[in-house]
């Protein structure tokens, strides 16, 4: 997720402390706390499945690109860095398949991209 969850939670912690103090205008307090609650809800939804999503996606993209390897470091930050590297390579591969007119490869890449948006979909997403 972008921005990453860790700095967002740190920011929300500071915001909660600020809004616990007197003197914060009521409308600003209501806005800050309402949005903070919504963000905490998203973080909670992603907490359990984020690592699974990234491992599954990295495995799928390696398969498409014919790359060996697996995720040994299961920190979210490490999985995300590998995911970024693989998705950048996938963009190159898709553009190359379009240039070459390789429709079968294009279809395989589209299938993974569709699957990736299903994995990442939030329960409250508008689409």
């Amino acid at each position: 997720m972008n921005p990453p969850v860790v700095p967002v939670l740190a920011e929300l912690a500071g915001l909660l402390i600020k809004n616990a103090m007197p003197g914060v205008p009521e409308a600003e307090r209501a806005s800050d706390l309402g949005l903070s609650a919504a963000l905490l809800g998203v973080a909670a939804e992603m907490w359990d499945r984020q690592a699974h999503i990234l491992v599954e996606e990295n495995r799928a993209i390696r398969g498409l690109l014919g790359l060996a390897g697996e995720d040994a470091d299961l920190h979210i930050s490490a999985l995300k860095a590998e995911n970024d590297r693989l998705r950048a390579a996938l963009i190159e591969a898709q553009a190359a398949a379009e240039t070459a007119g390789d429709t079968a490869r294009q279809a395989a890449i589209w299938a993974e991209l569709i699957a990736s948006t299903e994995r990442r979909k939030l329960s409250t997403a508008p689409v």
Binding site: N2, P3, L35, D84, A95, I114, A125
Partner: protein
């Protein structure tokens, strides 16, 4: 407790109203949302010619960093261009482009009080009976914006040739995504490649483009009338199909699949717009502009994340669009491209 901006704002307005005395700013409170500008409502009281006066006003101030960087003069002049027309807009009062008065540039406008803008409220079920009326008014007003003469704004806004509107916008938003993305965006990049390979026809006319015309940016009442079109900060001159495409892009269905703005079918919205504007929405050209607007949306969402990540604006409103909408915007692109 009085808001610290109140005496500073009162001092500024006193300089604009030399005939006024006993001038006060009270009840200043920030309105929630406002990721691109800080928006406050306040009450101005003063005495003039021996008579006590009062107005409810709005302050729109630039934040330290925004999810979109725009010129407040352009927004100010876009509102002024439609004053007194069939496109309802609040009266613009004062524009301040310097930092001295309130630390950042700002403008002050009339508050159109007593109406709602919230999409969640409009689509809560309580307004279902008037949604057809809202849809009729929403796309009629957009048609009137498309029909309007853009000449009065040409001194403030770049005037692109009709066959260059699409490229200027796509270059702009792709450039912002290049600058702001924190992670690769394969779906978005594929959409951009398709848009460049399949350009739309030249604009049938040059129009004022609102730039963010969607449910949530107009004020409505209980009977479905629209009393104000807001948030003109992305306005520019361009292809009128751009605004129509933004209003129809799937992210603005608010979860009501197939109902742009949560209001009606796409065919109904397009028919209303064509009738009001006197223009034609060629289906292939409109498809291009809807997909383009998905890319534009992604540019805004990754821009909000970038503003947070760079530390320029750490407000929760900068995080929420990025978390909630980046993947949803990819899914919207897949829908428009017929992949989902």
């Amino acid at each position: 407790m009085a808001h610290p901006l109140e005496p500073r704002l009162a001092a500024y307005i006193a300089g604009k109203l030399p005939a006024a005395s006993d001038l006060t700013v009270t009840a200043l409170e920030r309105i929630s949302g406002g990721a691109s500008r800080e928006t406050y409502r306040f009450v101005l009281n003063w005495t003039e010619g021996g008579e006590a006066r009062m107005r409810k006003l709005i302050l729109r101030r630039d934040p330290p960093a925004s999810l979109i960087d725009t010129e407040r003069r352009i927004e100010f002049e876009a509102y002024r261009a439609f004053a007194g027309t069939s496109v309802p807009v609040p009266e613009m009062l004062w524009l301040e482009e310097g930092d001295e008065a309130l630390d950042h540039p700002f403008f002050v406008a009339e508050e159109i009080a007593g109406y709602q803008a919230s999409p969640q409220m409009l689509l809560s079920g309580a307004f279902d009976a008037v949604l057809p009326k809202v849809a009729e008014r929403k796309w009629t007003i957009l048609g009137e914006i498309a029909k309007a003469d853009p000449a009065p704004l040409a001194q403030w806004m770049e005037t692109p040739p009709p066959d260059a509107c699409w490229k200027r916008e796509l270059d702009h938003w792709e450039g912002l995504i290049d600058k702001d993305q924190a992670e690769p965006l394969p779906v978005t990049r594929a959409a951009i490649r398709w848009l460049r390979a399949n350009p739309p026809p030249p604009a049938q006319k040059l129009s004022i483009v609102h730039g963010d015309y969607r449910t949530g940016n107009f004020l409505f009442d209980a009977v479905g009338e629209i009393h104000g079109i807001l948030d003109w900060e992305m306005s520019h001159l361009g292809d009128p199909l751009e605004d129509l495409g933004w209003s129809l892009q799937p992210i603005w269905t608010f979860g009501r699949a197939g109902r742009p703005g949560g209001l009606c079918s796409q065919a109904q919205a397009v028919a209303i717009w064509e009738r009001a504007s006197g223009l034609t929405a060629d289906p292939e050209a409109l498809h291009w502009w809807i997909l383009f607007n998905c890319v534009k949306g992604q540019g805004i969402w990754v821009g909000s994340a970038a503003a947070f990540n760079r530390g320029g604006n750490r407000a929760p409103i900068m995080i929420y669009p990025a978390w909630w909408l980046i993947n949803a915007q990819d899914r919207a692109m897949l829908q428009v491209m017929g992949k989902l």
